[in-house]
């Protein structure tokens, strides 16, 4: 398998047009790098839904349950102090702390799941070696595609990218 090609586009519409065309022609689209979110890419790249929200739900509920158990154990078992005849397991007020820390734990779990899903932190990546790639975070749109077959196909991928309005087509990392 040869090196993937990175095509640079001036705007989102050219990138989306090229991506649709490449897909129709049977080329393999690997990724796109854009300065802002393009929801249209999800369908073209056949993205699978992430499981970030599942992690948040599990993390939040687990922490909330832990906080409630801690309050119950400390007030009803380990340090049972009768304050004005209130029930030792004062559940209505014991819901406040679990709610707060549960929300925090959900957020932290979500962040951890996000990093895991995106494989971040990753301070170095081959894409960064591509010329002009610093503009992917500013004003240019990059498409990463690879040819899976023989050499002639490679030439056709490069041509196709150029014909689709790419400003430049380079091998990744050059």
């Amino acid at each position: 398998m040869t090196k993937p090609l990175v095509a640079e586009f001036r705007d989102a519409e050219s990138l989306l047009g090229a991506a649709v065309r490449l897909k129709r022609e049977g080329h393999q689209l690997l990724d796109a790098f854009t300065p802002f979110r393009l929801p249209e890419l999800d369908g073209i790249l056949a993205a699978k839904p992430s499981r970030i929200r599942h992690s948040m739900l599990v993390g939040g509920l687990a922490m909330a349950a832990f906080a409630y158990l801690l309050q119950w154990y400390s007030s009803a078992i380990d340090y049972a102090l009768n304050t004005g005849g209130r029930p030792l397991n004062s559940w209505p007020v014991f819901l406040l702390v679990p709610f707060e820390v549960g929300m925090l734990a959900a957020a932290l779990s979500g962040f951890a799941a996000f990093l895991w899903n995106c494989r971040l932190p990753c301070l170095h990546h081959p894409a960064f070696d591509t010329a002009q790639f610093e503009r992917a975070s500013q004003d240019r749109f990059f498409l990463l595609a690879v040819q899976t077959g023989e050499e002639e196909r490679s030439a056709s991928l490069r041509e196709l990218l150029m014909h689709s309005g790419a400003l430049a087509v380079r091998e990744q990392g050059s």
Binding site: D11, A12, D31, A32, F33, T34, P35, F36, R37, L38, P39, L41, D42, L45, A47, S50, I52, R53, M56, Q71, S74, S75, D78, Y79, L81, T83, S90, V93, F94, L96, V97, F99, E100, V101, M103, L104, A106, A107, L108, G110, F111, A113, F114, L115, N117, C118, L120, P121, C122, L123, H124, H125, A127, F128, E134, R135, A136, S137, Q138, D139
Partner: protein, 462 residues
């Protein structure tokens, strides 16, 4: 690098009705990026910034001295007494955390409701939250008689074999503020990631590249990154709204869970949440005007932004007024003598002028926002917002003063007279906030550049 637009070519054109949120006929992605990033990366701070920095630095010193005096002398240096046991510290605590809550509500609610104009204001609303909540978290510690033991609020294995009292409002506050502060920092940071990558890629110095590069965590802007980012950001926003409501309800419960007249009201939690939205939006309006002027962002912060925020302010003012009216009505309708006596005291007692000022700033003056002419005049909107912030602080101090100095036992009625150190800890932290905020605008982009670029595409100006 040279090919990238460096000087902002988008002028602050008169507002274009076709693109209400961007005051320019044409604004390329490179230009809007440069508009936000260049003041930080290429330009020096400038004289105005240094003057503000120096003045706010003085306030920081005042704050530190006031805290030092408080810690060495005890809370007797304040005007609190055995009747009015809470004073400026708790009023400021509620005021600051309300401003923080407002910042989160604005950012999160506008994200969930897909308000595109959010792009220009959400970053400093979130930053405001982090600083305001940090400052508010100081006050409950400061107001303790023995602040050195504040960590007893946390459950940890200790040689005394003690546990926190989970039924105490102080313990709720501890967890609410802690969770909320960490949550806000995370929410701000997640939103910042793509912008930190932009800063990394535009930085001209090795230090800048390393600094922003480390915090950008290697963000590449890949389609997969963006998808996960969006999922996380929207879910965090959806969590942020109930979290803020709960945090500020807990602040309301600090009062409502007591037995005092004027405090023991079921309306307190929602009434506090609306107050938070009210003063939070007012603070964002003041900061928006300052950032717009200081960073010359007239092109991306237009009068339409002020118009939209002023409408929310008006709505919050009406709900606030209804809340006050409900309090008066319930005192009369329920017929409890202590409650009726308290409402009479509000209007005729020693703090009546302050109470009338509060009603003027919170209920009457905001009614001017019914008129589009006023909403579209930045100076007017800012003046009303400053009034609201003063009015909301007065509301908090009066909730404390009036109820505590006019409780059930007539023999205990006493007033609160603020001392120098009360004033120092009222105004000092305002300077501390400004100090933090000035550091923020020189370090991180005050406006989310990735959302601006998206806005440019949606508004067809790119």
């Amino acid at each position: 690098m040279s090919a990238i637009a460096s000087a902002p070519a988008i002028a602050s054109a008169p507002t274009n009705p076709a693109h209400p949120w961007i005051a320019a006929e044409h604004a390329s992605y490179g230009e809007v990026t440069a508009l936000v990033a260049d003041p930080i990366l290429l330009r020096t701070a400038g004289r105005r910034w240094w003057i503000a920095f120096g003045v706010s630095g003085l306030f920081v010193v005042v704050t530190l001295v006031a805290i030092y005096v408080l810690f060495t002398e005890g809370i007797g240096v304040w005007g609190v007494n055995s009747t009015v046991v809470w004073g400026y510290a708790i009023a400021s605590y509620v005021w600051w955390i309300a401003i923080g809550s407002g910042g989160t509500l604005i950012s999160a609610m506008l994200l969930i409701t897909r308000q595109r104009w959010r792009a220009s204001v959400n970053r400093f609303a979130e930053t405001m939250t982090v600083f305001a909540v940090s400052i508010s978290g100081l006050f409950p510690i400061l107001h303790l008689g023995r602040p050195q033991y504040f960590y007893w609020l946390a459950p940890y294995p200790n040689t005394m074999l003690l546990w926190p009292q989970w039924r105490s409002a102080l313990v709720w506050d501890f967890w609410a503020i802690l969770s909320y502060l960490l949550f806000s920092i995370l929410f701000l940071y997640v939103g910042l990631l793509p912008d930190l990558a932009t800063m990394r890629d535009r930085a001209t110095t090795a230090f800048g590249q390393a600094f922003y590069g480390a915090f950008a965590l290697g963000w590449r802007g890949s389609a997969h990154h963006w998808r996960c980012y969006e999922t996380l950001q929207i879910t965090l926003a959806a969590l942020a709204v109930p979290l803020v409501v709960s945090v500020h309800s807990i602040v309301g419960l600090d009062f409502a869970a007591s037995l005092m007249p004027g405090w023991q009201e079921t309306i307190f939690p929602p009434y506090f949440v609306v107050g938070a939205l009210f003063s939070g939006f007012a603070s964002v309006i003041i900061l928006t005007a300052l950032v717009r002027w200081g960073l010359r962002l007239e092109a991306i912060i237009t009068v339409h932004h002020f118009d939209a925020m002023a409408k929310i302010l008006l709505l919050a003012s009406i709900v606030m007024t209804c809340s006050y009216a409900t309090e008066w009505f319930m005192a009369w309708y329920a017929g409890a003598p202590a409650d009726r006596s308290l409402v009479t005291f509000l209007f005729t007692g020693s703090s009546a002028p302050l109470y009338r000022t509060q009603l003027l700033f919170n209920c009457v003056l905001p009614q001017m926002l019914w008129f589009a002419v006023v909403r579209r005049n930045v100076s007017f909107v800012v003046l009303i917002a400053i009034g609201i912030n003063i009015g909301m602080w007065l509301e908090r101090i009066l909730i404390i003063w009036n109820t505590l100095s006019h409780g059930y036992a007539v023999s205990l009625w006493r007033l609160f007279y603020p001392t120098l150190w009360d004033w120092a800890l009222l105004f000092g932290p305002v300077g501390l906030f400004v100090f933090f905020f000035l550091c923020f605008v020189r370090l991180i982009p005050a406006v989310p550049m990735n959302e601006l670029r998206k806005l440019c595409r949606e508004e067809h100006v790119a």
